[in-house]
């Protein structure tokens, strides 16, 4: 595994933990995530999870799926 991919896995795991912790633990125990009219740590954590989940899998799984790459090569006759 390349460094970028390892970083991607770590970020993805952190993001999933943050989202699940807020949705399944904090929400079920408190009844909401965050507090109305305030910036709380819970709100910051779920927002961070929301942003990190966008980046993590992308670093982990790479930019172009092999299936798409092969399809384009077959269609254009060019090696990518």
């Amino acid at each position: 595994m390349k460094t970028k991919e390892v970083l991607g896995v770590i970020i993805t795991v952190i993001a999933v933990i943050l989202i699940l912790y807020e949705l399944l633990y904090v929400n079920l125990t408190v009844g909401s995530i965050g507090k109305k009219g305030a910036i709380t740590s819970d709100a910051v954590l779920i927002a961070s999870g929301f942003l990190l989940i966008l980046i993590g899998p992308w670093l982990w799984l790479g930019e172009v799926p092999v299936a798409i790459r092969k399809f384009i090569e077959a269609k254009t006759g060019k090696k990518l």
């Binding site: 995530i33 109305k36 305030a38 966008l54 930019e63 172009v64 799926p65 798409i68 399809f71 254009t76």
Partner: protein
Amino acid sequence: MYPILILLIVLLIYGVAYILYGKRLLERKIVKADPSRLTPAYEKFDGVDYVPANKYVLYGHHFASIAGAGPIIGPATALAWGWFLPLLWVLFGNIFIGAVHDYTAIMASVRHGGVSIMTISENVMGRKARYIFLAYVWFALVLVLAAFLSVASGIYADIPTAATLAILYMPIALLFGILVYKVGINVKLATLISLILVVVGIAYSFYAPTYLTYEGWVIVLALYSIIAAALPVWYLLQPRDYLNAYLLWSFVLLAIIAPLLLPVIRFTGPPIVNFVAKGGVIGAPSGSPPAGADIAWFWPTVPLTIACGALSGFHSVVGSGTTSKQLSNELDALLVGYGGMLTEGAVSSLAVILPAALVWDFAAIAQSAGLSTDLLLKAGLNITATPNILRLGAAPRFYTAYGFAQALAWSRLFGVEVFPQLFVGFRTFAAWALTSFVLTTLDTSNRLARFAWVEMFDWLKARKPTIHKLITNRWIASIIPVVLGAVMAYPSLPDPIDPTRVIRAYSIIWPAFAGTNQLLAALALLTSTLWVYAVLKVKGASSFLMLIPAMFLWVTVTLALIIWLIYVVPYLPGLYIAGTGTIVAISVALDFLLIVLFARGLKAARIK
């Protein structure tokens, strides 16, 4: 008039328009779409922006990007003229102008390597036109970013369950993309898994509000917008918009089913209220003197009110921006561009205007449907305080009419006693449908701003390649417009019109957007018309089918903006004049400059 009759007429018109005007005329006779020609998605494949997409996925993306709140809020506001005139404009504008504009923008871009309609203008109107056009669009997109950052942040701060749904929706969309592209599982199975998760997510969101302040959301969404606009399209944009299309179609299908369940109930609204409405209808800020004056003549001011549902300049930027770079076959463009625009028209006509026409007079509809005042009160509708739909603001007009029409239809099957619960449920669904496309438009706008930025600096490539590489880097080109947008969305100030009210900074220039966006539509259609005439060499009667609507639109929008400058701007406080007034005045000046360049281009093409 019966709703079912209008429904059938509208569906028939759209069907005939798609086949005769779209397929036979535009696709076969004018553009001559060729399925064997490789599109830019293959020729310039880069795995980030140029990636071929399935036509239904692309249809979902294109539709979700062009449909912000426009196709809903515009027609709801235009009800001030009655229901018939807005319906007429939606149908006419949709078929002969808006859908033609969107389709030709996509095809012109596809034939020019996926560049924007602004850059294509260089081929037919000269270099000057191109850079004016690019700068104009880039600033407009920054303004759109500011507005959507503000609108989305406001919605999530006010409706915390919608925020939770948005947070849940993104990982589901990512999962769909990974399942299809990386794991390689069947699209149908991946769709089924994702849709089940979406339904579970929607249900769970009801019980999991996420609270964050408006300012907090501006920061989070600004970061989201930067990341989402720089990520490869196959990774987030395509799967998310594909799933969005299901939400959209459920919304439209319900609007189609409702009149079928109510075959004998008549409209309670007047077809025409008046040919002239108050200035508020054309965007004069509320509380200002023109907002209450009779200055909004149906023609030529209607395009300032109804944008996306009939035609919108923003669509040409999407069509020749993200859509053209993902089109995998020229024949797909008709469904995506022309069909996408007709669907947006269907949202306006069938999901907004038709329900409003039906439930317009609450007492009358209650009487004809056998609903008691008590039952309506249980649903939260006080028909004494709010006797008709025009007493509500534009967005509540839509939620209420859509929710009422649906509840009325389904209570025929489930019993009139469940009307209040059905009304509340469908009204919430309508509000969610309205907000679900906000995030899509937000990051698509940023991606489009990045494309415009890169095209604006292409002259630097040969002269200073290092600087060019740096400033056109996809992260840098994504950060700049979002930061500028956030700077306008974040701060608040007392409204100069009504100092007791607080507004966001971007509101000072936002009223100009309605006009500048439609001006962009006129200029984009003129560019496409010239492209058809000069590059595709389509002459004679067929070329007039584009030239006449293009000129009609230019005259209409120019007159509307002049009316705006004369009747609205002088009555605004200084800050608004400096912001909105200046932008509209500059736009009108550019409008005349570009029409001169268009005339020269046309003349040159005729000589050749």
